[in-house]
């Protein structure tokens, strides 16, 4: 018998004398370093930007957030950018959210597993990977050229309006929204559906009473992250018509049709982009300050969504 012939001392010798593994420690340290540097980058970015922005906050407080665009650095504010961005997000939410959820529900819950469905699914995943600037082209083509051209509004309507931008961004986030939602739906255990169908619920009753409520927290946090991403998008709006402007007056009396019509709009990332190319060096600080505002808005929304998701995941 192997064991009884091995003396206890030999076994002790093998088991003990802990070998500190250098390789182990080194690898762990190196890996932690990579992770920390990613975070250091984020902090550097924030610090660098903040440093440049401080003069603005010192001299103007938050008033530049509440003022409108102006050609003069000392007067210029980003209110219109923020409002524009929020309005765009409104479009995104109103259009992409219901459409995305509905499409995902179809694909996850209804669609038979046919070639066609697989194709549609592949198509959506691919759309999610299409560079945003290509969506800009779509926006340019569709909302600026086709809608105007086709429907003959060219006379009254500049294509470069909020609707065009909003639709472009909505279309941009739609595939991501569908994927997020589909993932959330997939995470709902099949057992729950079977349970519901098993007591005689129809498909729609099952979805409405069980699947959607269970998936909703995940759908919502996913959507918030998606919308936040759209908030920071710049490139498609360059093509799809947000104003790169030093000044435009927002017409207080403008109605919905004015929005569709000639009302100009801009978005916060574009304001930043535009500030940065102004000759006045004070605009550089203003750019930094605007970036700080953008980051604070985005990162806090992101952080909230991420924390919410984390909570939700841990709860379930």
């Amino acid at each position: 018998m192997v064991i009884s012939t091995t003396s206890s001392d030999m076994i002790r010798a093998r088991l003990t004398g802990k070998r500190m593994s250098l390789a182990n420690t080194l690898i762990a340290a190196a890996l932690l370093l990579t992770l920390l540097s990613s975070i250091v980058i984020l902090i550097t970015l924030l610090a660098d930007t903040l440093a440049k922005a401080i003069p603005v906050f010192e001299s103007r407080g938050m008033s530049f957030v509440t003022s409108s665009l102006a050609p003069q650095a000392e007067r210029a504010g980003i209110l219109q950018g923020i409002m524009g961005s929020l309005a765009l997000m409104g479009f995104v939410v109103v259009i992409a959210f219901p459409l995305g959820v509905a499409a995902a529900v179809y694909l996850e819950e209804y669609a038979p597993d046919t070639r066609m469905t697989r194709l549609v699914n592949a198509n959506i995943r691919n759309l999610a990977g299409v560079p945003s600037i290509v969506y800009g082209i779509l926006g340019l083509f569709l909302f600026v050229k086709v809608i105007n051209g086709t429907f003959g509004f060219a006379e009254q309507i500049s294509g470069r309006n909020l609707v065009a931008g909003g639709l472009t961004l909505a279309v941009l986030v739609l595939p991501i929204m569908i994927i997020t939602t589909a993932e959330a739906l997939r995470a709902v255990p099949q057992a729950l559906r079977e349970a519901s169908m098993g007591v005689g619920a129809t498909k729609w009753e099952t979805i409405r009473h069980h699947v959607l409520p269970v998936a909703m927290p995940a759908i919502l946090t996913g959507s918030v992250l998606t919308v936040a991403r759209a908030f920071g998008e710049t490139a498609p709006l360059l093509l799809a018509g947000a104003a790169l402007s030093q000044y435009f007056a927002t017409d207080q009396g403008a109605g919905f049709f004015d929005l569709i019509g000639n009302q100009s709009y801009t978005a916060l990332p574009l304001v930043i982009y535009n500030f940065a190319r102004q000759p006045d060096t004070e605009f550089v600080q203003l750019t930094a300050a605007s970036i700080v505002v953008l980051l604070v808005m985005l990162l806090s929304v992101n952080a909230l969504a991420i924390i919410a998701r984390d909570r939700f995941e841990r709860a379930s």
């Binding site: 729950l192 098993g198 005689g200």
Partner: protein, 286 residues
């Protein structure tokens, strides 16, 4: 109803010779499901072939057999749950109260309201205990006193005493065994006349398992129960009749489930007619 008079137990024909054996006879209850030449396909793959058997009212019928022999597949035919599976196709007939379950004008949703199902893993809705029980009747548009209904149902499911003070707590806070009893309560809340159970105890510990088995035996007063189980001992313990399935492997390696023997449970476990059954229950099978 003619199906009652019909001789359904084809597997017992060659038992006729030993009809004299004085086993405790089961009362001769009417046949509820009459399954004739049932075959189920998943796409091109024939999962189950030519199953013929009769499920009698107020009995517990167990389906046993090696993994992949099609127990779940057959079970899910009884409430048309297979409809939910892409590409699943059913041949042969299953009548229920004499009505062809797969008839053109039968609405599967309606079928499932009358035939409850309990699954392998306890799967309560992530709602309150109360709402779990009330859901089925609610969507069926039942008008009545829900408080009474829930109490009655939970009592039947041997759960009332344990949960009566926390009906509005989330069902997921219950233990596994309690959850499974809740699922049984949920299944019987719509007053089905059949409860199907697919390995209802395989996720439970032995104590919870015994409770569920007890419950099943209590429930057969009111319901007809069909249970799929991997656990021969369980089938032996709880069921009145047992259907033993096995797998035929063709030369091309296609594995098709077949009903080998269907008989009173004690016959299956003490003295099966088929060698395959004997080999399976004594562990000589591989």
């Amino acid at each position: 109803m003619t199906s009652d008079e019909k001789e359904i137990d084809t597997m017992t024909i060659d038992h006729a010779v030993r009809e004299d054996i004085d086993l405790r006879e089961l009362p001769d209850r009417p046949v509820l499901f009459d399954v004739t030449d049932l075959s189920v396909y998943y796409g091109d793959f024939q999962a189950v072939a030519d199953v013929t058997l009769g499920i009698r009212e107020h009995e517990i019928t167990a389906l046993i057999g090696p993994s992949g022999c099609g127990k779940s597949t057959v079970l899910r035919c009884f409430d048309r749950m297979n409809d939910l599976i892409e590409g699943a196709r059913v041949e042969g007939t299953i009548t229920y109260h004499g009505i062809d379950l797969y008839g053109a004008d039968v609405d599967p949703v309606e079928v499932r309201r009358r035939i409850g199902m309990v699954f392998q893993k306890p799967n309560p809705f992530p709602k309150t205990i109360f709402e779990n029980v009330a859901f089925g009747p609610r969507i069926a548009g039942w008008k009545g006193n829900y408080d009474d209904l829930v109490e009655e149902t939970l009592t039947k499911a041997a759960l009332w005493d344990e949960v009566k003070d926390k009906l509005s707590e989330p069902a997921l806070a219950l233990s596994g065994g309690q959850q499974q009893r809740l699922c049984i309560a949920r299944a019987i809340a719509t007053s089905p006349d059949v409860v199907l159970m697919d390995e209802p105890c395989s996720a439970l510990d032995p104590i919870a398992t015994l409770r569920i088995e007890q419950l099943m035996m209590d429930l057969k007063q009111d319901y007809t129960i069909i249970i799929v189980t991997h656990n021969m001992q369980q089938a032996a313990r709880v069921s009145d009749r047992t259907a033993f399935f096995s797998v035929d492997v063709t030369d091309e390696g296609q594995r098709t489930g077949r009903l080998i023997e269907f008989d009173r449970t004690e016959m299956i476990f003490t003295n099966p007619t088929q060698k395959d059954t004997e080999d399976y229950i004594t562990g000589r099978f591989g």
